[in-house]
Amino acid sequence: MNMQAAPRQTIGAAPEVGQPHTRNESACHDLSIRVRDLNLWYGESQALKGLNIDLFQKNVTALIGPSGCGKSTFLRCLNRMNDLIPSVRIEGLVEMDGRDVNQVKMDEVALRRRVGMVFQKPNPFPKSIYENIAYAPRMHDLVSRKPEQDELVEKALRDAGLWEEVKDKLHQPGTSLSGGQQQRLCIARAIAVQPDVILMDEPTSALDPISTATIEDLMDRLKEQFTIITVTHNMQQAARVADYTAFFHLGEIIEYNDTKTMFANPATKKAEDYITGRYG
């Protein structure tokens, strides 16, 4: 019902609030994932209603909105994790690299290799730190020899900013690390298969402020290599780390804009109320 009120959900298309500082002027970003008319039902109830959004490469896009607004559901559409829920029905286009990811022909395993995921609660495998990283690349035949594998493990851990902390205890269980370290281990695990996109579902909600800051710095560095799409409940976090922000409400994208504009000058009343903390 708010579709008409909402601006066209593409970047730079919020003409009613012209912004001096929109970043999209300076950076012309390449498209990573294109979503058109995406509808999703859990059984009878519709959770996503006609979503249209373009997600850009090597940027951090934050998905914000009150609980139950469909942002996590949308995130899971991007690597078809919703397939695991039997009652889910999806319509619409999620296009990556010119291919519709929801097509039967698309192998969800191949999709998940290119679209990695980090979950809300750190969930390292109950194996060694080394094995947590090495497992997936080995499974995907990205590495064949042991030295290669060692190298890849080190690189992934370095990229995740965890190497210095764990280099002497690579063979201890991943679950022995602290919460923040576990989450960085999960990020390292995700980037070890060299995906294009990393989905993060409230990656810091189970962490303390210091660990959160570390992860946020990490996201800032990782966006040079990866497209990051993160769900967050934390307004400040979205403002800090995201280049673009999409505001979800009741299964619709109300507003999508570059973060500065979104927070300084939201185009819609709903987004403004949410951002200023009037509900959520």
Partner: protein, 388 residues
């Protein structure tokens, strides 16, 4: 109007009394159960421990010409009535196999018969008065003695109580259990994996689930009938063998293993599955590399308990003919064999008094094995207990 503490206390008194009464009743029930258990164990130990000792008698064995035809001739006629007939029967065989024995003689300890044994243990016996006097004399001379009964563990069943042992039944049990495990474990685990990780949740799978739960509660003798009808009559599997017994018990153990495995799989948190799917595992890789290893301790525990249950099972084995007189230790899966509980059942039916302690002794051996198995299951569970 608020009430004073005293008023409230007086109202509460009745409630407290009731909860105290309930506590005493439940403790009483527990105590009663404990008492029965204690009674059972002390009775079994009291009856069964003597089975681990057996009377032996020192006799002069004279390998003469007559003895090569009839073993009894090798012994003093009075003493020969005290010696086990299994020993006497062996004398001619020994001479035939070892001709240079002929003409020699030796003094050795041999198995006394069940009556001497029972007399020494203070049980009812059938010795006549002269024999009692003779045994008392021998006892004073130190020529009759209760010794550790190695025989019980190294021989099979025998019609002579003093010579019967449990080895053939124990070997039969091991072979039967091997067959059971080899069939029930892989099928049970794979069934559970399919139902839990792959199958859609619909009417059909729910029906299967209900049926599996029902199967676990079916009286075991029905599995015996099924085994008889299908394995023996239809497929022609040789009867009385560890093969058919193991297959029948596998039917019985399957639902136990399936249910235990499903529980173990369900206790693996979804976050692990999501993590594995997230890095691009196929469904089978998720199960093989992540879920199954984590569920394995639980699966092992359930399987061991299922196996222990099968090991104590007699009814279905009666139907497939595994309750039989098996004096020789079996060598293959297709030879007639018996199992421990069936051996106990056989002994319990013997009219001779000396078999009572054999029965109790057999029960002790079976119980020891079962306690050992269940303890292993508990230790496995404790050791690999994991928190997420």
């Amino acid at each position: 109007m608020s009430q004073t503490f005293d008023e409230i206390s007086s109202q509460l008194r009745k409630r407290h009394r009731r909860s105290a009464r309930l506590k005493w009743i439940s403790m009483g029930a527990l105590g009663l159960a404990g008492l029965f258990l204690l009674w059972f164990f002390s009775d079994m130990l009291g009856k069964g421990l003597p089975a681990f000792q057996q009377a032996q008698i020192q006799v002069e064995v004279d390998y003469n010409e007559d003895a090569s035809r009839m073993g009894r001739a090798a012994l003093d006629p009075d003493l020969s009535r005290l010696v086990s007939r299994t020993f006497e029967r062996m004398i001619p065989v020994q001479i035939r196999e070892n001709p240079e024995l002929l003409g020699t003689s030796e003094t050795r300890w041999v198995l006394a018969n069940a009556q001497v044994d029972q007399y020494l243990k203070g049980h009812r016996h059938k010795l006549n008065e002269q024999q009692v006097v003779l045994v008392d004399e021998l006892l004073a001379e130190g020529r009759v003695e209760l010794k550790f009964n190695t025989n019980f563990f190294t021989t099979g069943d025998s019609k002579m109580a003093e010579a019967s042992g449990i080895l053939s039944a124990a070997v039969g049990t091991v072979m039967t259990m091997l067959v059971t495990l080899a069939i029930a474990f892989p099928i049970g685990v794979m069934t559970a994996v399919y139902l839990e990780e792959f199958a859609p949740d619909n009417r059909f799978t729910q029906l299967i689930e209900i049926n599996i739960n029902n199967l676990a509660a079916i009286p075991s003798i029905l599995f015996g009938l099924l085994g008889l009808a299908i394995f023996i009559n239809f497929f022609g599997v040789p009867r009385s063998t560890p093969l058919v017994g193991g297959m029948t018990l596998a039917l019985m153990t399957l639902p136990v293993i399936i249910i235990a495995t499903r529980t173990a799989l369900r206790s693996v948190p979804d976050s692990i599955r999501h993590a594995a799917f997230g890095v691009g595992c196929s469904r089978w890789q998720v199960v093989r590399d992540h879920v199954l290893p984590l569920a394995m301790p639980g699966i092992m525990t359930g399987s061991i308990i299922g196996l222990a249950q099968a090991m104590g099972e007699t009814a279905p084995l009666i139907i497939v003919g595994m309750v039989a007189f098996i004096p020789d230790v079996g060598a293959s899966f297709t030879e007639a064999a018996t199992v421990l509980p069936a051996q106990i059942f056989t002994w319990a039916g013997e009219p001779e008094k000396a078999f009572v302690e054999k029965t109790a002794g057999g029960i002790l051996v079976l119980l020891t094995i079962l306690i050992f198995l269940n303890a292993t299951a508990v230790i496995l569970r404790k050791k690999f207990e994991r928190r997420w």
